[in-house]
Amino acid sequence: MFKYFHLTKLQRLGILKWSLYGLLTLLVLLLQTVVLSKHTGLASKPALLPGLIVCVCVREGPEKGGAYSILAALLWCLSGADFGNLSVAVVPVGAMLAAVLCRAVLTLRFFPTALCCLAVTLLDASVIFAFKLILPPAVALPNYWRVLLPAVAAAMVFVPIHYGLVKLISRIGVHDAL
């Protein structure tokens, strides 16, 4: 089928790589909405997608990764995320800046990436919280450290898994490109 479309091996591997990123995004979205958000008594619900988006963006660079991050954030928003409109701006912009920062100043290793994941996840949650503080029915300020920070901490537990999987997927086609 690929021969029919006159695709080179590198292009085919590129399609495979981005398809796997797409599949990973879908799986993380399902894990987040079907499994982790189920228990209503536990108010802190971790948002895993910002961490994954940052990992991909840092690995793939601010351009390709940036385009992916916009699409992934858009999917998250349109899947019914609360205040997802804000995340469409905050998460991709944060991820692109993280990618630029890692390439310019830091490295692509685990700790700088995890730090960027923490920063973007916290920023996204904080921006939404700020709007929730203002708009009725307003949430109480102590919920920031009682609910939001545990949710961000829980999301960070998944970052090593995101990082490992993204690193594996990003290697597809690397040897052929060289």
Binding site: T33, V34, P62, G80, D82, L86, V90, P92, A138, L148
Partner: protein, 276 residues
């Protein structure tokens, strides 16, 4: 760092910000995001498959690890059934007396005829500030917005707030955005029940605007009073605590929801009812 920010990256940042602005404006104007229905419809089969898998895993886990506690719970329930059967016998006698009195007074019999559609929960909203879930049925099954979701025991779960062809979003009673006109079954005090999520009492409901002199007891049942949205007599929850509100003029009560939302797998949407 500035030199690392290419023109393409700058454009992507502009696109992201513009997209967010556009989504916010269209959501405010149309009361819904453009393309949301399409994405939700496309995601529904994946969510259904994932939730079915999760349910099977949970059932297996419960069978393996919670067998003894379930057995104890079963024994407790058996004891409760025996006690309730006795209550029912007393209630039967009272009902017969009530019917006789109704006939004597010529009052019409209250009858609520519910048409229900059952649906499985396929995903939950991933926000800490909102309590809502998606079910795997929508307009194709006759579900519309502002229909009430209940459990098989007639306990209020929430309200359908958004709907697509094969999905619907149910905002639960725990969410602070819902307000339900309610009454305390034993005393008849009226008030409005809202979710206490925003006030920091997760998992509880708050019944506001109760009279200052109202006497409230723990475990008093709170029911819907009946409105254009909520049928009359559905169980909302049980009183766990009460106090004066900030003004000191009215009282409020904290309620434990009757429906166990954490263990919920299936809900019933009331598509038609009559409030007489």
């Amino acid at each position: 760092m500035k030199k690392h920010l290419s023109a393409k990256t700058k454009w992507l940042i502009v696109v992201a910000v513009l997209l967010a602005g556009l989504l916010t404006i269209t959501a405010a104007v149309n009361r819904g995001r453009p393309g949301e229905s399409l994405i939700q419809t496309a995601l529904t089969p994946f969510r259904s498959a994932a939730s079915t898998l999760v349910r099977q895993v949970e059932r297996y886990y419960d069978y393996v690890f919670r067998y003894e506690s379930l057995q104890a719970e079963n024994e407790e329930l058996k004891r409760k059934i025996i006690a309730m059967e006795e209550d029912v016998r007393t209630a039967d006698a009272l009902q017969r007396e009530n019917e006789r009195l109704h006939q004597l007074l010529g009052l019409s019999q209250e009858h609520e005829d519910y048409q229900r559609v059952s649906a499985y929960i396929i995903s939950w909203v991933d926000s800490s500030w909102k309590s809502a879930f998606t079910i795997g049925k929508g307009t194709n099954s006759g579900i519309r917005t502002n229909m009430v979701a209940i459990t098989e025991y007639g306990q209020v779960v929430g309200l359908v707030t958004d709907v697509g062809p094969n999905w619907a979003t149910v905002t639960t009673v725990l969410d602070s955005s819902l307000g339900i006109s309610a009454t305390v079954a034993s005393t008849g005090y009226n008030g409005v029940v809202e979710g206490a999520l925003a006030t920091g009492s997760e998992g509880l409901l708050r019944m506001n605007y109760l009279p200052t002199d109202s006497v409230l007891r723990n475990n008093d049942q709170v029911l819907t009073t009946g409105s254009t949205v909520y049928p009359r007599g559905l169980i909302i929850g049980y009183i766990t605590d009460a106090d004066f509100d900030q003004t000191g003029v009215a009282k409020y009560a904290l309620l434990k929801p009757a429906a166990e939302l954490d263990d919920l797998e299936q809900v019933f949407i009331i598509t038609e009812y009559e409030n007489q």
